[in-house]
Amino acid sequence: MLLLIVIVFFVMVNFIVLTVSSKDKLPDTGIEEVVIALTSPFQMAFSRTLTAVRGVWQDYFAIVSAAKENPKLKRELARAMESVSQCKELELENTRLRKFVHFQDIEEDTVVAAKVIGRDPSPWFRTIMIDKGAKDGLTRGLPVLVSEGIVGQIVAVSNRYSRVILITDRNSAVDALVQTSRARGIVKGNDTELCSFRYVLRKNKIEPGEMIISSGLDGVFPKGLRIGWVVELKENSSQLFQEITLKTCVDFDRLEEVLVSIKPFEPDQDAEQSSELQPGQDPRQEPGLANAIAQ
């Protein structure tokens, strides 16, 4: 009887602690930091070895196919040389236009490049570990990006390593816009490769294939970063909002390096206004970090 009472007591205590912990109300104990410091070097070494082995394997196949492609590429090179001179002209024109629209280029010291060294052991949560931490100027809440688009946000930082929650995690949400129609909504992760684009009014006409970009209103991600494209939408006449599914631009299975934007980001004051731009207005005229990274 006493044993039963003790077990019930421990079960109760355990579930209470888990409930509190699930609401993120438990104070940080520092244990995580110690464990991460102990395990991350192994993760980093393993990750690098794996990348090297993959590299050798891919290089072998690359050499075989390169030999076949060589004559064809030589012909293409001649054609490319012609277009290079045209590109030079366009580059100069681009520089002039950037100055004209007061485009602020990304300074090199505003992003920190980091390597992905580990993934979340559980399929229930989508997080990754990167090899940069507080020592490199990273703090909790900073946006993590790649040239293809948004990766996620830093949620925990130790001295040399950080944990990033991916936008596909169910606890993730990004304020977003449809690039063409400027319809606003929230991109929510659902623990698969697909995300949901929620709270988009039914009156907004959206087509599959349309690009979803960050709105800059959440105070985390700068405006204009690519998130994904619409793959499926359902309109339910009894509901106020549409059900939109999107495929992320970033392939999270192949993520090896990321950029962390350490520049303090102020929510875009104009974003609210520009989110109400009329359909048909050319969104490409808007300067954005994603465009800059892509360039």
């Binding site: 888990l18 991460i36 580990g118 559980s122 229930w124 949560f125 949620v155 698969t192």
Partner: protein
């Protein structure tokens, strides 16, 4: 001491395999937690209090690298250990039927902890249909995977112990 290093290496191997880029998202959803196999092996073979400490440390390690709330792996592992310890008094641990059952029970139990935390943290809306399919596929894989891995670890451990014994005796003989 040799056992300690054997399980430490095993932990590192499973830990790295589980947190590396080896798996694509699809496979990652299907596979069960490999560390569960270590917890089961330890719980089945040993009864010493130090094993509880080891299970506790495994939980802490996994909680530290996971994006879930702290205590999730810890609770799951410790309660699985307690359950197996009470069950093994009745059945021999190499009984295949027993291994099949505890494999599924352990995987389902761990996933139920995850489900509990999700519901408490975000409400029922946070639970999707694919969570249930993930849970089902993990349980299905565990039917084959867990007994196989537990038995494999057992054989491997025996082989390592025999090898260590031989090496020790050779050194003793030379000395």
């Amino acid at each position: 001491m040799i056992r300690f290093f054997f399980y430490l290496c095993l932990f590192l191997l499973f830990f790295l395999a589980q947190t590396s880029n080896l798996w694509c998202s699809y496979l990652s959803n299907q596979r069960f937690d490999l560390l569960l196999v270590i917890v089961l092996s330890l719980s089945l073979k040993f009864s010493h209090i130090r094993i509880l400490v080891a299970v506790f440390l495994l939980g802490v390690a996994m909680d530290s690298v996971s994006g879930g709330p702290f205590g999730l792996y810890l609770s799951a592992y410790v309660w699985i250990y307690v359950l197996i310890r009470s069950l093994k008094a009745f059945v021999h641990f190499q009984n295949i039927a027993f291994l099949l059952c505890i494999g599924v029970i352990a995987v389902v139990m761990k996933n139920l902890f995850f489900l509990f935390v999700l519901i408490m943290g975000k409400g029922l809306d946070a639970v999707y249909y694919n969570d249930l399919t993930t849970m089902a596929s993990q349980a299905a894989w565990s039917v084959v995977g867990v007994p196989l891995l537990v038995l494999l670890i057992d054989r491997l451990e025996q082989a390592v112990l025999v090898m260590a014994e031989k090496t020790f005796q050779q050194h003793l003989y030379r000395g």
